[in-house]
Amino acid sequence: MTAGPAISVRNLTKDFRIGLKGLKLRAVDDLTLAVPRGQVFGLLGPNGCGKSTTLKIVLGLVTPTSGEISILGLPSATSAARARTGFLPEAPYFHKFLSGRELVRYCAHLSGVPSGKVEAAVAEALELAGMTEAAGRLVGTYSKGMLQRIGLAQAIVHDPELVILDEPTAGVDPVGAAAIGRIIESMRARGKTVVLCSHLLGQVEQVCDRVAIMDKGRLVLEGAVADVLERRDRHTVTIEALTPAALAAAETALAAHGARLGAVTHPRRSLEELFRELVTGSRDA
């Protein structure tokens, strides 16, 4: 049997009515999108471009004005579809009087994990999210990074096939963001489909297989990360021990073949790479 996409969105439009006059604000405009199974899919775009609204519609939290959405072949907004989906909302807020373990256990029960398997599922989710040590603390005492990670644990405790993460790294330091990136990669390794909404483009580039970019409610680009980033009309050659004479000779040789040397620069590492290289022990757990 051929498995269809994890998420299929066809001609989705969402209008919000605002003000007393009921003025129409179009948040999502005729969006058509397919998220393949078993991949990490990045949904990108500036604030207010309709990403979160799209995700909420996919989860049945917001009703679309028009369009069709299915999750894992099931009609979106049904309990059966949500049972196979995990969701971490943007800036998650949980009941502060619960401990991390109680929260994840509670979510396991709500997500339909059989009673006899709840404790094992909770322990596994906490372990995967790196929250085992802090699981006994009250959620109200958690840092932003820990809130995101306990949010991840509650999203994956029922071992869903599809995990939707809305800004999982918002407000998290680079070390914490890298940890979340590793969790996402481990989910992909386990065959899960992950939809990732993030403004950390560097991380999206690292962990995503495919990306879609939205602007003003419309889809402006969609494709495999390698394909959309590659500039096929340019090439990069890394040369060691380059001397001025060698550079001049190379320019001459290139000109003889109709090619031109565009720029000569030194390779740079990203600030994030440098930061992670220097700050190794400061985990927020």
Partner: protein, 277 residues
């Protein structure tokens, strides 16, 4: 256990835990307890009968007043806390039906009010039992019949108050499911409870026996959209003169209360069905 019901119970459990942490609950709980305990300070000099009635009225009055305030404010607060703090976003993204969410909220809030009613009714029972014993001794000395004080009747009256508060919670949940703000839900919910308290007036004034046909049917529907909350106030009769309760009254009041709860919850679920979270 049915999976849907199990999910309702988990929501109820969390709602209960959240509610009993509220200072507002503790404040009204203490205020109600103080009111019931202070009823013992009242003295009348007719060898018991009026005095016990006063204590019963005082106690049930406290239950009614503070229970109603708690029912309205706490229900709206617990509902909007989930919406405004966006915890509902996490919960409703799980395989949890919106109706299940509302039923869970209802059960959790109703359970908290159950604790409130049980404790205040127990205090009232202690106050009335002690005073009734004292008055019985005085009555024997004066060769008068001892005053009647049926503690089982008090338990039934407390159950009725709890049922009445259940109707209030379901009614406020219906308002909250359609309301955009906490304040709107509290104000409209309180007005609806007040209207329910005065409902017997409209039923008696509007439904005159002489009227018949379509007009009467429309009036009947209009006067029964809101429950008659006065019908639950049988406390003093049940405690002081249990034999005077007309046959069939209690089953009717219980059935009517449960029917209103079911109807309001169904209405709330319908209104909440397409609400954008």
């Amino acid at each position: 256990m049915n999976a849907a019901f199990a999910r309702c119970l988990w929501i109820a459990r969390l709602t209960f835990l959240e509610a009993i942490r509220q200072r507002f609950f503790a404040f009204l709980f203490l205020l109600g307890a103080v009111l019931v305990l202070s009823s013992g300070a009242v003295r009348a000099f007719d060898f018991g009968h009026s005095e016990l009635k006063f204590i019963a009225d005082f106690g049930f009055g406290g239950l009614f007043l503070f229970g109603s305030i708690l029912g309205v404010v706490m229900t709206a607060q617990l509902f909007f806390a989930e919406i405004d703090n966006r915890t509902a976003l996490t919960l409703l993204a799980k395989p949890l039906g919106r109706g299940e969410f509302l039923v869970g909220k209802f059960l959790g809030t109703w359970a908290v009010l159950g604790v409130f009613v049980a404790v205040l009714a127990a205090l009232l029972a202690v106050m009335m039992g002690a005073r009734a014993a004292e008055l019985a001794e005085l009555a024997v000395e004066r060769r008068l019949p001892p005053p009647e004080c049926d503690l089982l009747g008090l338990a039934v009256a407390a159950l009725l108050q709890w049922l009445r508060l259940g109707v209030v919670v379901a009614l406020v949940l219906t308002v909250a499911a359609a309301a955009r703000t906490f304040l709107f839900a509290v104000v409209v919910g309180a007005l609806a409870v007040l209207a329910g308290q005065l409902q017997w007036l409209s039923q008696e004034l509007l439904l005159k026996p002489a009227e018949a046909g379509l007009g009467r049917a429309v009036l009947w529907v209009l006067t029964h959209l809101l429950p008659n909350l006065q019908q639950f106030n049988l406390g003093d009769v049940l405690v002081l003169a249990p034999t005077q309760v007309p046959a069939g009254t209690l089953p009717w009041v219980f059935a009517s209360g449960l029917a209103y709860i079911a109807a309001f919850l169904a209405c709330a679920a319908f209104l909440f069905r397409r609400r954008e979270i």
